[in-house]
């Protein structure tokens, strides 16, 4: 049950063996007991081995795992209190964004999170975690409110991307995202963004301009979902695995090129194997970073945030000037 991904086949077999042995319960013979222990050890070892060497595309599958904890799971496990607030005050409430004030340890924070749905009905309700413009406007509204009341902002990112529909164009998806980038760049409070699953495109960045960008170990963050990139590059979304590898979208690869500040370790085999441990790890990382950021005077915080994004990018200087106009 727990190991159901393509590359986890050897693990699933070991698991099947373990379950068969465990079923015997008290009737387990001594040599079978030893076999059980060995198999369990083997499963741990193989899992560690496989997960240490996940490719980008394999990480995509873990990040999208149907049992992976979503924002509300983390909120429930991490926060002593959370009061969800709704609506953008001009058009609608977007269920793909969950937001509101929360108590995290001793800190009062404003949570702004993408929320996916698990079963068909909830998936529809959450629109697959793909916000409409009103979702981003709700996020922007509550971040401004956070600034007013002095709550640091914590954003949990988990979306394939902003929703792509005609109605979204009509209501200004681009403007809604751009406005948040603009707002978050200068918000006078610490902001921490954590990619907990899928960080997809502008729809992720729209709540991702932060002083610290953290990622769960097996999450992904990408300029466009591999399927979308494949259709842009090669006009065929079937090339998604190639696109994932070429764009290096796994947390580990992004940490290696310093595009994210910190990786948050996940339980063995991914966050969905142990919600409690995953949430504890996330909470520890959030509180640690929050404590560090709260030490900085606002001016310095903002200047550091500006420089952080100002310095992202790799470019060169042409040796020969190529300036023939027209």
């Amino acid at each position: 049950m727990a190991y159901d991904l393509e590359f986890e086949k050897p693990l699933a077999e070991l698991e099947k063996k373990i379950i068969a042995l465990q079923r015997k319960g008290d009737r387990l013979k001594p040599d079978e007991y030893k076999q059980l222990q060995d198999t369990e050890r083997e499963l741990r070892r193989r899992t560690e081995e496989i997960y240490k060497n996940l490719s980008s595309w394999e990480t995509v599958q873990v990040a999208r795992h149907k049992d992976r904890p979503y924002s509300e799971d983390y909120i429930r496990l991490m926060c002593e209190d959370f009061f969800e607030l709704h609506g953008d005050r001009s058009f609608s409430d977007d269920h793909a964004i969950v937001a509101g004030p929360a108590k995290l340890g001793d800190e009062h924070v404003m949570l702004v999170c993408h929320q996916k749905g698990r079963d068909m009905k909830e998936k529809q309700f959450r629109n697959l975690g793909m916000p409409h413009p009103e979702g981003y406007r709700k996020a922007g509204r509550l971040m401004q409110q956070a600034e007013k009341f002095g709550f640091p902002v914590i954003c949990l990112i988990d979306t394939p991307g902003a929703f792509l529909g005609l109605a979204d164009e009509e209501r200004g998806q681009s403007e809604a995202i751009a406005a948040n980038l603009h707002l978050m760049a200068r918000l006078q409070l610490p902001i921490i963004a954590v990619v907990i699953g899928e960080g997809g495109s502008g729809g992720a960045l729209a709540i991702g301009v932060a002083d610290r960008i953290l990622m769960l170990e097996y999450s992904i963050y990408t300029v466009a979902m591999p399927e979308a990139s494949a259709s842009i590059l090669w006009r065929d979304k079937g090339f998604a695995p190639q696109a994932a590898e070429a764009m290096r979208i796994s947390a580990k690869e992004l940490k290696a090129i310093d595009l994210v500040d910190e990786l948050i370790p996940e339980p063995l085999g991914g966050a969905h194997h142990n919600y409690r441990l995953a949430a504890d790890n996330l909470k520890v990382a959030l509180l640690k970073n929050l404590a560090e950021l709260k030490m900085l005077p606002v001016d310095e915080l903002l200047e550091r945030r500006y420089q952080k994004f100002r310095n992202i990018g790799k470019f060169g200087i042409a040796s020969e000037s190529l300036t023939a106009p027209y």
């Binding site: 902003a162 792509l164 005609l166 979204d168 164009e169 009509e170 209501r171 200004g172 998806q173 681009s174 995202i177 751009a178 980038l181 603009h182 760049a185 200068r186 495109s201 502008g202 960045l205 991702g208 301009v209 963050y221 990408t222 300029v223 466009a224 399927e227 979308a228 990139s229 259709s231 842009i232 590059l233 090669w234 006009r235 065929d236 979304k237 190639q242 696109a243 070429a246 764009m247 290096r248 979208i249 992004l254 090129i257 595009l259 945030r305 500006y306 994004f309 100002r310 992202i312 990018g313 790799k314 470019f315 060169g316 042409a318 000037s321 190529l322 300036t323 023939a324 106009p325 027209y326």
Partner: protein
């Protein structure tokens, strides 16, 4: 300004009339929208606008600059900034293997530009401004690190010299080949604009055909005033992605559509753009101008421009 679309100001003063774009060599040109056959010379005189359907053809960055700014006032900056290949990106499909570096070299050779944006400063009716003009021919005008850096520098030039900033967009969005670096350019350019806003310096955004994806969802939509050329594709989701995911022919989401839905300030015909910008600069920056205009024009003389004005 919305009035502009319906009631374009007519100007006959030679000072504000845009000069024709350069000849392209062909005798006739086919309009890619209405398929009308146009006499090249007429079409060029008409600023590469179709006389039948008013389709505004794409312009190169330098053509656009010539159209918009005072003759010989443009000084290009940072022309030597080029993309590198931070991810060692190789495009592998069934029948083609192409490294991003190869693609970059090809584009540089074919287009004659180092990158998909040209930045610098110039004057419009003697009013100084910083500008970044995108060129769609270079990998679809896509934004990678180099484009993000150059646009940020153009904005920072505006902050430093206290002159208005104009960005003319023509882009398919973020550049896939640079992965997350490209996405982060959206945050970088938007942050620079937030600083420009704090300095109370006006930013004019001009949307040309096409403006889509990550460019629309960052600096293009952040203008204090947003203008668009008629009929330009302006949307978040580019047609290629819509086709793949929704299996429908993409709807026509253009300048008029976004104007109708309240996302931009005005649709302005190409021949009226320069005058519209001049009027806006005058209206939005009286304080800045009187103080800095003189000073800046003097400053241009000793500027570190890499290329003399065109």
């Amino acid at each position: 300004m919305a009035k502009e679309a319906a009631d374009p100001p007519t100007s006959t003063s030679s000072n504000t009339q845009a000069r024709p774009a350069l000849p392209s060599g062909n005798l006739v040109v086919k309009c890619i929208r209405c398929k009308e056959i146009l006499i090249a010379r007429e079409w060029e005189k008409n600023l590469k606008v179709c006389s039948r359907c008013n389709y505004h053809f794409k312009l190169s960055a330098y053509e656009r600059i010539e159209l918009l700014v005072d003759p010989d006032s443009f000084v290009e900056l940072d022309a030597d900034i080029v993309s590198v290949d931070p991810l060692h990106f190789v495009s592998r499909t069934k029948d083609e293997v192409q490294a991003y570096v190869t693609k970059l070299n090809d584009e540089r050779k074919n287009v004659g530009l180092n990158e998909a944006v040209v930045i610098g400063h110039a004057t419009i009716e003697q009013l100084p401004l910083a500008l970044a003009i995108m060129d769609f021919r270079f990998i679809g005008g896509s934004m990678g690190s180099a484009v993000g850096e150059k646009i940020t520098r153009a904005i920072e030039l505006g902050i430093e010299k206290r002159i208005p900033v104009l960005i003319s967009s023509a882009s398919g969005g973020a550049r896939m080949q640079e992965g997350l670096y490209s996405l982060m350019q959206m945050a970088k350019t938007s942050a620079a604009l937030a600083k420009l806003g704090e300095a109370k310096i006006p930013y004019f955004s001009l949307l040309t055909d096409p403006t889509t994806g990550g460019v629309t969802a960052s600096f293009a939509m952040l203008g204090d005033v947003i203008l668009a050329e008629p009929g330009a594709l302006v949307c978040f989701t580019g047609p290629r992605v819509i086709e793949q995911f929704m299996h429908v022919k993409p709807p026509e989401i253009n300048s008029e559509f976004v104007l109708q839905h309240g996302m931009i300030d005005a649709v302005v015909h190409r021949r009226d753009l320069r005058q519209a910008l001049a009027r806006l600069i005058r209206m939005y920056s009286p304080g800045i101008l009187e103080k800095n205009s003189q000073e800046f024009v003097q400053h241009i003389g000793e500027s570190d421009g890499l290329r003399p004005g065109i």
